[in-house]
């Protein structure tokens, strides 16, 4: 029960690339995020060398449009994949291959009057996109290009009575949205907007009997919330409000020890999304053999250190 199968998970991630079945085909529009999940997981496990970096960078750059990045070659750009692309380039230390001013201009163009961010030219608003904007620009050292005050006050307007955050003002509190909002505050130095006790309480109530975490009341535990809840708790310094050992056991139980990969809950089908969030969660829980991960940037700490304390680009 107790061990993390690093070798198996490495093999699983490398094999995902090669799949050509229908289920893989209908995921091709989000390949950029899939690549970010896979590559970051490999790095956390110390296995990033298994990958051909030049090939990855060259593909990422093919997804660059005049404005932002798309999820795959020939698809439309979107702020979600722009963040994933920037995160991948940061991970591989290849941020010098892009025009940071151009990317910044794209993101600035997506900010609305009320401080919120649209995902693309078609105008859907969501606090996830606020996080994408803030995180991306921070990595590019250009956070000052947007109206940060308005961006933050919009996110703050999505705060609910329970201390949580939704996708828009009045939206139901959801652990994923909470991660986005809390991280956006953290990156912008605006954590005063969070009621740490109230939110910490809501977050620790996500832990269910099995030790796993759910994303909202009455829902089942899911490994991906091991990241979103745990990283939020880490940022607001309330991780000790959950039972870490039980959570660790739950994540390890979600492994497919034979074929590699991690699933949403024990004995379900694995995928790279849950593999990333399971490993990232274990990293936050300081599981031995994993590199530490930054809870706000969702990148290995050594990458974030390099960005902010290494040579600036």
């Amino acid at each position: 029960m107790g061990e993390l199968e690093i070798e198996k998970h490495t093999q699983f991630i490398m094999s995902v690339e090669k799949k050509k079945d229908f289920d893989s085909m209908v995921m091709e529009h989000l390949r950029m995020s899939g690549a970010y999940w896979g590559l970051t997981t490999l790095d956390l496990m110390g296995k990033l060398d298994a990958v051909n970096r030049e090939e990855v960078v060259s593909w990422v750059l093919q997804c660059q449009h005049d404005c932002g990045f798309s999820g795959n070659v020939g698809h439309d750009p979107h702020i979600l994949y722009t963040l994933s692309a920037i995160q991948i380039l940061a991970l591989l230390d290849k941020l010098d291959t892009i025009d940071a001013d151009k990317i910044s201009a794209y993101i600035v163009g997506l900010q609305q009057e009320d401080g919120s961010f649209a995902g693309d030219e078609w105008g859907e608003i969501d606090t996830r996109f606020s996080y994408c904007a803030v995180c991306c620009l921070s990595i590019l050292h250009r956070l000052d290009k947007i109206d940060v005050g308005k961006a933050i006050s919009y996110v703050a307007s999505c705060k609910n009575f329970d201390g949580g955050f939704g996708c828009t003002p009045g939206g139901e509190s959801h652990a994923g949205q909470i991660f986005c909002c809390v991280s956006a505050f953290a990156i912008s130095g605006a954590l005063t907007h969070v009621d740490r006790d109230l939110l910490g309480w809501w977050l620790c109530e996500r832990q269910v009997k099995s030790g796993g975490l759910n994303g909202r009341p009455e829902k089942l535990a899911d490994v991906c919330y091991s990241w979103w809840v745990l990283s939020s708790l880490t940022i607001i310094e309330r991780v000790h409000w959950i039972d870490k050992e039980k959570l660790k056991t739950f994540i390890l139980d979600c492994q497919d020890k034979e074929h590699g990969g991690i699933s949403d809950r024990p004995d379900d089908a694995v995928d790279v999304f849950h593999t990333f969030f399971g490993i990232a969660g274990l990293s936050l829980l300081e599981y031995p053999g994993l590199k530490p991960i930054d809870p706000a940037y969702a990148l290995p700490v050594h990458v974030v250190d390099r960005l902010f304390f290494g040579q600036p680009h």
């Binding site: 209908v26 999820g71 020939g74 698809h75 009045g170 139901e172 620790c204 009455e218």
Partner: protein
């Protein structure tokens, strides 16, 4: 015809053409599913049988019994399969034109506005659809650029009716046929790969140039079709919102938006039934509240009251009610009079309330919700969603001015009597303490619920304990009289004993929240 497991690229092109004809011939298709070949075969068997009732029942039962009938992430059963199809589609070779298009029966089944596609054919279908879509999109872009860059002198075209260049005329014809191809192919891409955003975006580019209402209706239909098998599809929901915004902008003064909202409500209730606690669906429903009239908000409150009682564990529904109630309170505090024209029966349904004449005060709205919630908590033991709802209502009530003409005062209760102006704000001193008495009584009742040996009684106790914690936390945050603060402090000090008994695993949390090891309250001897 025996089904194949391995289809080639030419098959894909052939099947794409057939699928597009099916979709074109039946624009009312409202449900699609991807099924195993054997299941597809059984649909055809059902349809073709000159059936005895028992045979129909047998087959229907065996189909209904298979939870994985349709291979979707939701595991939704395929509805309405049966012999009542009056849209029988024919064997290949039968050319009766009023019977519909011919198609490969080992790949497709269509009847009753339902469409099934066999799983092995999906990959080649998608390949062909994607290829066709990309090609038509490139053509659309080229033509679009061309028509913008034209520099032609005008002369009468062949029809003689308008002055446009021949090239413009030809270009318009080409554009129309390219648009049609783009819409046809992107539809299949969107159906097969529901979150292929670019396909939906292409449709936005075309549709935003149209103003015919039927077009919008067809697009809403497409979104609904995708949601029938992928109720969590972000693109399908986002497209729906984009369309509704467009419709509202284009037909603001007409009754169209209100009708759309009513139909959306029906649609969303069906989705809520099939796909429990679907965040995206309920998010969409909350978004619609911004566009609702007060009458619609009240209708929604009635509908969801009935629905919530059948789904007491559905936190999303209660959150939706909170959105509706908040919206109502905000509109109450304005001076609009549009909401006066319905009976109190309309509003309360089965739950009569003695003080109905006060109902139009926000305070009473919350009080009624609280009373209803108490009924549910007593009847449905150990449901988290009910207690979360109560936390919210409590939070609202202790801040709510009693009357819309209230003086806003931060003092919750006052021992200065009586105020010169008519109704005072919030609870009076006696009322607040009476209210707290009732709440504590409910908590004690739930803490003492008889153990059944099932999880629900343990949970009920834990939720009751957490609710008490919540009350203390909220009350600590308000400006109260000396008596109130003393009462709150006393309750806070009693928390530890209760929490140790009911949920010792949360000791770290309540210690962090309340510093329960430090108690200044000393019980008077």
């Amino acid at each position: 015809m025996a089904s194949k497991d391995d289809y080639g690229d030419e098959d894909g092109v052939r099947l794409l053409a057939q699928l597009e004809v099916i979709l074109d011939q039946d624009p009312l298709i409202d449900e699609v599913g991807f099924v195993h070949p054997s299941q597809l075969a059984s649909f055809h068997v059902l349809e073709g049988q000159d059936t005895t009732e028992s045979l129909v029942e047998d087959v229907q039962t065996s189909i209904a019994g298979e939870r994985n009938l349709v291979i979707t992430s939701e595991g939704l059963p395929f509805e309405s399969v049966g012999v009542k199809s009056n849209l029988l589609l024919v064997d290949e070779g039968n050319t009766e034109s009023n019977r519909g298009p011919s198609y490969d029966r080992s790949v497709f089944w269509c009847g009753d506005h339902k469409l099934a596609i066999c799983i092995p054919a999906l990959r080649p279908l998608f390949k062909a659809a994607k290829s066709a879509y990309l090609f038509s999109y490139r053509q659309y872009r080229i033509l679009g650029d061309l028509s913008q860059n034209e520099d032609c002198s005008p002369y009468l075209c062949e029809s003689g009716s308008s002055s446009e260049t021949l090239r413009e005329h030809r270009s318009k014809m080409d554009l129309q046929s390219v648009e049609a191809a783009l819409l046809k192919h992107s539809k299949v891409v969107a159906i097969l790969s529901c979150d292929y955003a670019s396909a939906w975006n292409s449709r936005k580019q075309v549709i935003s140039q149209k103003t015919i209402k039927e077009v919008y209706g067809a697009e809403l239909q497409l979104s609904a079709l995708v949601l029938s098998y992928a109720p969590k599809s972000e693109q399908a929901w986002s497209y729906r919102r984009w369309l509704i915004r467009l419709i509202i902008n284009v037909s603001a003064k007409s009754k169209e938006p209100l009708m759309i909202l009513e139909r959306e409500s029906d649609f969303l209730e069906r989705i809520a039934e099939k796909s429990r606690m679907n965040y995206r669906a309920w998010r969409h429903r909350c978004w619609l509240v911004n566009h609702m009239s007060t009458r619609q908000v009240l209708t929604e409150l009635l509908r969801t009251k009935r629905w919530a009682q059948l789904h007491v564990g559905d936190n999303c529904c209660f959150h939706y009610r909170r959105c509706l109630l908040l919206h109502l309170c905000r509109s109450k505090s304005s001076t609009s009079t549009e909401n006066k024209v319905f009976s109190t029966e309309d509003f309360y349904g089965n739950f009569q309330n003695d003080t109905m004449e006060d109902w139009d005060e926000p305070f009473m709205i919350w009080k009624d919700e609280l009373d209803w919630n108490k009924y549910l908590i007593k009847y449905y033991i150990g449901r988290e969603a009910l207690w979360i709802h109560r936390r919210f209502i409590f939070h609202q009530l202790i801040q709510q001015p009693r009357s819309r003409y209230s003086i806003t005062s931060s003092t919750l209760d006052s021992d200065i009597s009586p105020k010169k102006e008519a109704p005072t704000d919030c609870y009076s001193y006696e009322q607040l303490h009476a209210f707290l008495d009732e709440e504590f009584e409910l908590i004690d009742m739930c803490l003492n619920v008889a153990d059944t040996g099932f999880e629900d009684t343990t949970q009920q106790k834990e939720y009751a304990a957490m609710y008490k914690m919540w009350m203390i936390m909220q009350l600590q945050g308000i400006n109260g009289s000396k008596e109130l603060l003393e009462r709150v402090e006393k309750e806070r000090c009693n928390l530890k004993a209760m929490l140790e008994k009911v949920c010792p695993q949360r000791a770290v949390v309540w210690e962090g929240l309340f510093c329960l090891n430090q108690c200044s309250y000393v019980e008077p001897h």
